[in-house]
């Protein structure tokens, strides 16, 4: 499952201080060795958490991106981009 790799790297941001520092310094370089699709890589580097959520990435885990301020995200931009995702009653993306 490719989205597994996105979820996993978000968690590594919390657990691996060296990876966290690398992501803060140069996200493209830090992501280069990871097994991501071209789409996932592009969306991560663009901080497009809404599109990643629609692909199945986990919200708790992506929340580490603004927490550690990587990929250009902060709490405000994260909030706005996630809230722009249309979801149904149980939080599943629609449309």
């Amino acid at each position: 499952m490719s989205i597994f790799a996105v979820n996993h790297l978000c968690r590594e941001l919390l657990r691996d201080r060296a990876f966290r520092a690398a992501m803060k310094a140069d996200p493209a370089k830090a992501l280069a060795p990871l097994d991501l699709t071209a789409d996932e890589r592009r969306l991560l580097l663009a901080g497009d958490v809404g599109a990643l959520y629609r692909l199945g990435a986990n919200a708790f885990l992506m929340n580490y991106l603004p927490r550690f301020e990587v990929c250009g995200l902060n709490q405000q931009s994260y909030n706005e981009r996630m809230r722009a995702v249309k979801v149904d009653e149980i939080g599943q993306p629609v449309g």
């Binding site: 968690r11 986990n58 929340n63 996630m82 149980i90 939080g91």
Partner: protein, 274 residues
């Protein structure tokens, strides 16, 4: 024989330790946890069994249990860096944990095991406020409450009953408090956050209804309405109510001393003593 002497329902919002440090002992959070701390001390507990939902910290998607119990003599807490929470080593009781697991598996609950583990804010934050000296052993029992498929509410209640029987068949003379940790309606980091916040309360009506059911001992109604759909509708951590339901199973159908709501957070602080 061990006896269950109280049930507690607790929130675990990771930023609460920071807020209390910032706002002091008169803020609402400090008072609500402070009242529970007094109640807990009055029960003279020897041991705490805490039902809890991990947030992909103790367990990850590479090996995600529905039910699991921590079996070790101690554990580290927290593993996810909540603000203004020290690094604790919490004592536990491996023998009792193994006994609960064995009894659970024999009763038809497929309870996994973790050793050499750490826990996240969901175990740590309540203990930070209620047992800050970390001198009371804690056995964490993990219930999957975030990622569907969620275990059915009725099954979690029956699980709590089985855990209660296991505790009360433990030959040592221990006073055991059972806790359930979590929210009733909350979205964390997902599309249903409130504007400008990192969380939101998607279903305040449900939160209010849960509190009424708890106060009125309408546990069967609570279980009936806690469908997977309702829990997910209440937010991406809405399944944490399963921890309260398991706690209720363990303590039996009793009237709470109080259930103090914090509606803006979609959760409450509950105490059951007898």
């Amino acid at each position: 024989m061990a006896q269950i002497v109280a049930g507690f329902g607790v929130p675990h919002t990771p930023v609460f330790p920071h807020f209390v440090k910032r706002d002091g002992p008169d803020c609402e959070i400090a008072k609500l946890f402070g009242a529970q701390k007094e109640q807990l001390a009055a029960t003279r507990p020897d041991l705490i069994v805490m039902f809890d939902t991990d947030h992909l910290n103790t367990f990850f998607l590479d090996n995600l249990p529905i039910f699991a119990i921590g079996v070790d003599k101690s554990f580290k807490a927290p593993n996810d860096e909540p603000r203004d929470v020290p690094n604790y080593v919490v004592p536990s009781n491996a023998d009792l944990a193994a006994h609960i697991r064995t009894a659970g598996v024999e009763a038809g609950f497929d309870v996994g095991m973790t050793q050499a583990y750490s826990v996240d804010h969901s175990v740590t934050v309540p203990l930070h406020f209620l047992t800050p000296e970390m001198n009371i052993p804690v056995v964490p029992f993990f219930i999957s409450g975030h990622l569907p498929p969620l275990p059915p509410a009725r099954r979690c209640y029956a699980l709590g009953q089985a855990v209660g029987r296991a505790i009360e068949s433990w030959p040592e003379n221990k006073r055991v408090v059972v806790m359930g940790s979590g929210s009733f309606s909350l979205e964390v980091g997902g599309p249903r956050m409130a504007p400008g916040r990192s969380d939101g309360v998607p279903d305040p009506d449900w939160c209010a209804r849960v509190i009424t059911y708890l106060e009125d001992q309408k546990i069967d109604q609570l279980i009936k309405e806690s469908t997977q759909h309702q829990m997910l509708k209440a937010g991406n951590v809405g399944g944490e109510i399963l921890n309260w339901i398991a706690m209720l199973g363990a303590i039996g159908n009793r009237k709470p001393n109080y259930v103090a709501p914090q509606m803006q957070n979609g959760h409450a602080y509950g105490v059951w003593r007898w």
